[in-house]
Symmetry: C2
Subunit: 181 residues, 2 copies
DNA sequence: CTCGTACTAGTACACACGTACAACTCCGAG
DNA sequence: CTCGGAGTTGTACGTGTGTACTAGTACGAG
């Protein structure tokens, strides 16, 4: 696989450790030492690959945002062949929530973006992508509203550590996506 | 007003300083020294009134949650005499967002509750109250969905520092609250 | 008046932090 | 082979942290 020397692998290991840590301790709770320990590298390694702690957290959040946005490809495909768009979106949301840490990290990203404008594009990636996907099956206003609804449902499911009410979400999405207006 | 001694006033000043600080630095960024400086009291005062930093942040978050929940009384009243419930809720949401720091603090509360279960009742106060208020004008499923929608819209408005799309929100709420289904 | 208790205020301590850095090791270009 | 730069590692430094603690102050009960 890799000899003792493997800069790229090391960088990735550090980023992945940070990604795993963010849902546990929050973006603000991230620490060079914490990440280094989790990644199994000495302290010096994290400061070598990332000049500053903000750089490190940004790299991790970018990784997370990319991962979430990539999921949306599967959403688009599932919706293409779906008879009941609302039910499918609800089911996909439930699936998305199954990877709780990543969903949590996405929420952390939203809040981190409030005080770090450079993170806003990352924070918008998931939402904009979702609106895009939904836009194929509803008007722009309904798509945006549906995305808000999904994120609101996710937020509360995460915050209360409760399973998603998939049926209720589907019902609501059906109402939102109804062509009438 | 108050002589040099005023324990209750001091406690309140500390809590209010913490409330003002949370939207700025986040719950995790709160510090005894930061709060003390903002409140204009010596460091010893914050540790005297709150045995631990978590106690302090919890008191602040409780204050915020109470303040938000109290707003809902006005929501209920405004809705009682409203012909267009959806538009009224959208307008009230916009109003709520006008106090950006408090809305932000509420979101901080949501995320803080993830890792501090003792905060969950506080985090649920706003949401449950909102569902309650909306429940007077729609079925329970629609009310919950509408509350999710409102919170999702708030989250993104806060995260992107953008004004609320009040009209779009009203349209979506109208679709959600339609009695059909 | 007087005395104990609630409160005040400043300081101290041990610790974790971000970052800087110097010494060391490896490896590929010449 | 040699040598320079990239990668590695442990340590050091200054700062800020939560919390504990001591000494002092005001004030209401007796």
């Amino acid at each position: 696989m890799s000899g003792r020397r493997d800069p790229e692998g090391r960088r990735r290991a550090i980023v992945e450790a940070a990604c795993a840590l963010i849902p546990e301790v929050g973006v603000g709770g991230l620490t060079h030492r914490l990440v280094a320990a989790r990644a199994g590298v000495p302290l010096g390694a994290t400061t070598y690959y990332f000049k500053t702690l903000d750089d490190l957290s940004e790299a991790a959040l970018e990784h997370i945002a990319r991962s979430s946005a990539e999921d949306l490809r599967a959403w688009a495909e599932a919706l293409r062949g779906s008879a009941d768009v609302a039910a499918t979106v609800a089911a996909l949301t439930e699936e998305y929530l199954a990877d709780r840490p990543r969903a949590l990290a996405e929420m952390e990203l939203y809040l981190a973006a409030v005080h770090r404008p450079e993170l806003r594009p990352l924070a918008r990636a998931w939402f904009d992508g979702l609106v895009d996907v939904l836009g194929g099956h509803a008007g722009p206003v309904a798509a945006k509203a549906a995305a808000h609804l999904v994120d609101g449902a996710l937020l509360h499911a995460l915050s209360n550590e409760r399973p998603l009410d998939t049926e209720g979400l589907a019902t609501a999405l059906r109402a939102l996506l109804r062509p009438a207006a």
